[in-house]
């Protein structure tokens, strides 16, 4: 009896490991930015390209950065969720218009609505690289001190807003700047 017990135990351990492995999402890469200062950018505003916004300009408030593009299919579905979040008035959302043509981006916002405080143009994708963007849409939550506190790769859903982002933003809004 005992001689069957060891292989059985090993088998169970293997099954458990494989089961856990199946549940893991290989697309989810832990972001190295959580808890670190938000990367710098200095980018022109989509609707007013003469004016630039820098990361430092946004310090002192809790804000969200939503990376989007007109060519990004899942951004379209996410857009309704972003609009819903902005309507709650909890925190401003800035758009990072990633590797897009300005005219396409404007047309997209005209058609779907523009919830963004401002959208910043990253035509070359360099700011995207600095922010470690690899799967548009991506969303970051930045606290008053300019520290990245949360990152969502892929579309933000209503349940992510309700369960993760809203409680976090409330908590961060209560923190001293």
């Amino acid at each position: 009896m005992k001689r069957y017990l060891i292989p059985l135990a090993l088998f169970i351990v293997l099954v458990v490991l494989l089961a856990v492995g199946l549940k893991l999402d290989p697309k989810h890469i832990p972001s190295p930015f959580i808890g670190k200062p938000a990367p710098m950018f200095d980018l022109p505003i989509l609707h007013n390209p003469q004016q630039h916004i820098k990361t430092a300009d946004l310090q002192g408030q809790v804000w969200l950065l939503n990376v989007w593009a007109s060519w990004c299919v899942s951004c379209r579905a996410e857009h309704e969720v972003v609009k819903r979040f902005v309507a709650m008035g909890m925190a401003p959302v800035y758009g990072l218009n990633y590797k897009d043509k300005p005219e396409d981006a404007k047309r997209w916002l005209n058609a779907l609505g523009d919830p963004y405080q401002a959208s910043l143009m990253d035509i070359s994708g360099d700011a995207g690289i600095d922010w470690g963007v690899y799967g548009v849409p991506e969303t970051f939550v930045i606290d008053k001190k300019g520290i990245v506190r949360f990152k969502q790769v892929g579309p933000v859903t209503n349940s992510i807003i309700d369960e993760k982002i809203l409680p976090l933003v409330k908590e961060l809004n209560a923190e001293a700047g």
């Binding site: 190295p32 994708g125 690289i129 922010w131």
Partner: protein, 159 residues
């Protein structure tokens, strides 16, 4: 008939092989060719794009992938190397933005320690059991006269 088939095969296999070679050419040609002023920099570039993982198309390095992000990261790598930055700088740059995950050869540090020593631990465990198995004294059961007679008989029969 058979000979003819053989000749036929040789005759046609060469064009087919050549065709396959050329068919794969455009995908190579589509990749950007960067000019380096120094062969050492070029060597470093070629080495690094093989060591950085493309985060969009995982399991491909950025040298192998034609995803947009991979193209951008190759451009970044090129820019840094042409500016005279060394390997360490480029790897730091990438891992600061995309995490340790982009390094195909993870660095030796606390959270990657198991990755590096794990295989050796498994090897030692395997060796331990192997040695124990080899050294195990055989369960010696002395042969009886009857066994001997039977063996003798079997050997005799084979002759």
């Amino acid at each position: 008939m058979q000979r003819q088939a053989k000749v036929w095969m040789i005759k046609f296999s060469l064009p087919i092989v050549l065709l396959m070679l050329f068919a794969s050419m455009p995908s190579i040609a589509a990749f950007d060719a960067y000019q380096f002023d120094d062969p050492e920099k070029e060597a470093l570039y070629k080495k690094l794009i093989k060591e950085l993982r493309c985060t969009v198309c995982q399991n491909q390095d950025i040298g192998d992938s034609n995803a947009e992000l991979a193209q951008d990261l190759r451009r970044k790598t090129y820019e840094m190397i042409s500016a005279g930055k060394d390997e360490e700088f480029v790897l730091d740059y990438m891992s600061q933005r995309y995490g340790e995950f982009v390094l195909y050869r993870p660095r030796l540090q606390i959270n990657t320690l198991l990755l590096w020593v794990g295989p050796f631990i498994i090897l030692f465990i395997a060796l331990f059991f192997l040695l124990r198995f080899i050294r195990r004294p055989e369960d010696e059961v002395p042969l009886t006269d009857a066994d001997r007679a039977q063996a003798e008989q079997l050997l005799e029969r084979d002759k």
